[in-house]
Amino acid sequence: MRKTGFLLKEEHSGYLMSLPYVVYFCLFVAFPLIFSFILVFHRWNIITPMEFIGLGNFERLFHDVQFFKALRNTVIFLLIHIPLQIVVALLFATLLSQQIKAKGLFRAIYFMPVIVSGVVVTILWMQLYNYDAGILNVLLSKLGLKRVPWLISPSWAMPSIAIMATWKNVGLYIVIFLVGLQNIPGYLYEAAEIDGASGLQKFFYITLPSLNSAMVLVIILSTIGGFSLFIEPFVMTGGGPMNSTLSAMLYIYNQAFYFGHMGYAATLGFSFAMIVFVVIIIQRKIVERK
């Protein structure tokens, strides 16, 4: 009885019910954050004692060619991935918002790659991209075109991964844009029609500006995705050819689990996270000002 009595007091049950989160937060959020901050100043391979090295890890970072390479690769990925994603998603979202039959079926199909695991998509596309026997190159050579060295040329490898990532995620963005399109009030278009606006004018002056918040979402999600790119290069290229697909996450993984540099890996994680923050804030500012 006393227990029920205790719970009857709103404040008490409030504390009790939020307790699980507090415990979880301390263990899996606060501790890792603090510990990450400690690691950044140490050299440690987990099994021997930690060594304090001050700003040594950051010094290393600033001289680390591979860190900048990973950063550059991420930028290349995003520069291809984001515009491609937006154009394709806009195209299909616009088409799907017309009066057509089997809308649900189309949407369901476009959404398929989103729901399956990245591992599935990666292994499947590795076969599609195979230089000698992959079906893309087989098709190209049947059409009398030259084979494309998808994953084996340093200049093609990252674009290939970006194309694959677009294929995988675009269904999600089609739906986001679709929701956005449905929320545009019809009278805007009617008014524009009365003013004699062309289809393109309507698209650029009404549709695009109304999709602004959807656009922000798409760009931010893609950016986070770009910085979390891991399984694709891990399975397909191991970061090669010539570091051209070395992604931020893959580099952290290598440093931590191949070479046992936990401190340096934490420093890398910390730095990439800061960069993600800054990039997203800048993107938001730019898109929202328009």
């Binding site: 290393r60 590795m126 230089y131 994953l151 090669g240 050819p241 570091n243 290598n254 191949y258």
Partner: protein, 453 residues
């Protein structure tokens, strides 16, 4: 990621009816039921009042079979000390697994897949039992391996933490028929002979404008240990048995290394080795003439080859001006006892059992790998086996002319750096070999400095 959208999707499901939920539940329970029926129940052997030793072996099929056999015999003979076998959990590399095991205190009692290149951290962390404290250590060791070989496994602190067990000398395995067809009578021994052979063998057979028969093939992913099977054995051969370090100093930037880089550069530039990922085993399919591999490949080939497949073994090629015995990388794997063990004495007994003559012969028979044992080829005990298996004999004869890796903590990173330069220079040809080797040494030194500052 999908979060935001999934909510949209799901809210669109309205009105949510009970039937949807029921259907979901049904679907999930059917799935769970199906899977629950099939899955195996795991090992439920847990007897009490007995000494148990956990033994980790390498996770490849043949070695697991060998270890099962050996452990079975041991358990039959010993009632009070039982050994439980577990293959090393699969991962990218065994070293990574051992590192996590030491950190988590979940190491086994004995492990027989210890790569000497990764030992120094394990020793520093106090993860291993010092073996020379066992009174009969030197007797057992010196009756098995030569003095200087044992010495090469002495740790920085002067003690021994590993028992030399087996090696897999990297040699050239070649397709006899392809060589004959191309008019090559004896296996190429030098770089120019190898290149000449490659020129004859690599071609475009079906005439679609791209080669479909190659001299050789290597995985080109820039993963550090891949270089242990192309660059490194050639480097050891070209330097006449040198390793990356001499008296604790990195000596990578030397003429032999440049020669190896130039050699591999030509192999890729002249399309004797493909850059693309080949599917299936093209060596067994007869589309690749040469493979560089350890002894284990013999049992692999024997298992999967077609009836008419002919192959033979030769030492790896050396630079044209090289004279002397041909050395190679030995890929040694040793046995260690971990300090988490409660019974170091029993563990040591088991280690001695593992390296007994009978079990060394079983290692040869089951896994076609070479036990590290002096006079292996001349010993009566193994004579019959080598008579039956002349190909393995070639590996056994190579075994004394092998080198391992330097026991420095940065070794993996140094190989990673070599890997990056190898990729730029040999595979993509965008760097001069001399420059690549020079850069590799410089970058390796920078990393070593970072790791010690």
């Amino acid at each position: 990621m999908f979060i935001v959208f999934l909510c949209d999707l799901v809210y669109n499901l309205n009105p949510i009816s009970d039937s949807l939920i029921k259907r979901t539940m049904l679907f999930l329970s059917v799935l769970l039921f199906v899977v629950g029926c099939v899955r195996d129940v795991g090992d439920s052997t847990s007897e009490v009042n007995e000494v148990y030793l956990t033994y980790w072996c390498s996770p490849n099929q043949q070695e697991i079979e060998l270890a099962q056999k050996v452990v079975e015999i041991w358990n039959d003979e010993h009632d009070s000390v039982k050994v439980r076998l577990q293959p090393i959990p699969a991962s990218q590399s065994s070293e990574e697994v051992l590192l996590a095991a030491i950190a988590g205190g979940t190491t086994p009692d004995i492990c027989s897949n210890m790569w000497p290149g990764a030992m120094s951290d394990f020793i520093k962390a106090g993860g291993l039992v010092c073996l020379d404290t066992f009174p009969d250590f030197y007797d057992v060791m010196l009756s098995r391996v030569p003095d200087d070989l044992l010495e090469s496994f002495r740790a920085e602190d002067g003690h021994f933490y590993q028992v030399p067990w087996k090696c897999n000398p990297v040699m050239m395995v070649y397709n006899v028929k392809l060589f004959k067809e191309a008019g090559i009578e004896k296996p190429p021994a030098t770089y120019s002979e190898f290149l000449a052979a490659a020129r004859k063998i690599s071609k475009d057979i079906d005439g679609d404008g791209k080669p479909d028969r190659w001299m050789g093939y290597r995985d080109i992913k820039p993963i550090w240990w891949q270089r242990l099977f192309d660059f490194y054995p050639f480097y050891i051969a070209a330097t006449g048995g040198g390793t990356l370090f001499k008296k604790g100093k990195l000596i990578l930037n030397n003429p032999a290394a440049v020669k190896v880089f130039s050699f591999f550069q030509r192999l890729y530039m002249e399309n004797y080795f493909p850059r693309s990922t080949l599917q299936g085993d093209q060596f067994l399919a007869g589309n690749i003439a040469v493979q560089f591999s350890g002894t284990w490949i013999v049992s692999y080939i024997e298992r999967f080859k077609r009836e008419d497949f002919e192959y033979d073994i030769a030492p790896v090629p050396v630079p044209d001006d090289y004279r002397g015995p041909v050395y190679t990388y030995g890929d040694p794997k040793n046995i260690s006892i971990f300090s988490t063990t409660h019974y170091p004495g029993y563990a040591w007994e088991f280690v001695k059992f593992l390296i007994s003559k009978a079990n060394d012969l079983a290692l040869l028979r089951k896994c076609t790998q070479i036990p590290v044992r002096k006079d292996l080829v001349t010993d009566e005990y193994f004579k019959e086996y080598f008579k039956e298996n002349p190909k393995i004999r070639k590996f056994a004869e190579q075994a004394p002319y092998t080198r391992g890796v330097d026991g420095v903590p940065d070794l993996k990173e140094i190989f990673h750096i070599v890997s990056l330069e190898y990729e730029a220079c040999c595979i993509y040809g965008v760097k001069e070999p001399g420059k690549a080797v020079q850069d590799a040494e410089r970058n390796a030194k920078v990393v070593m400095e970072w790791n010690r500052q």
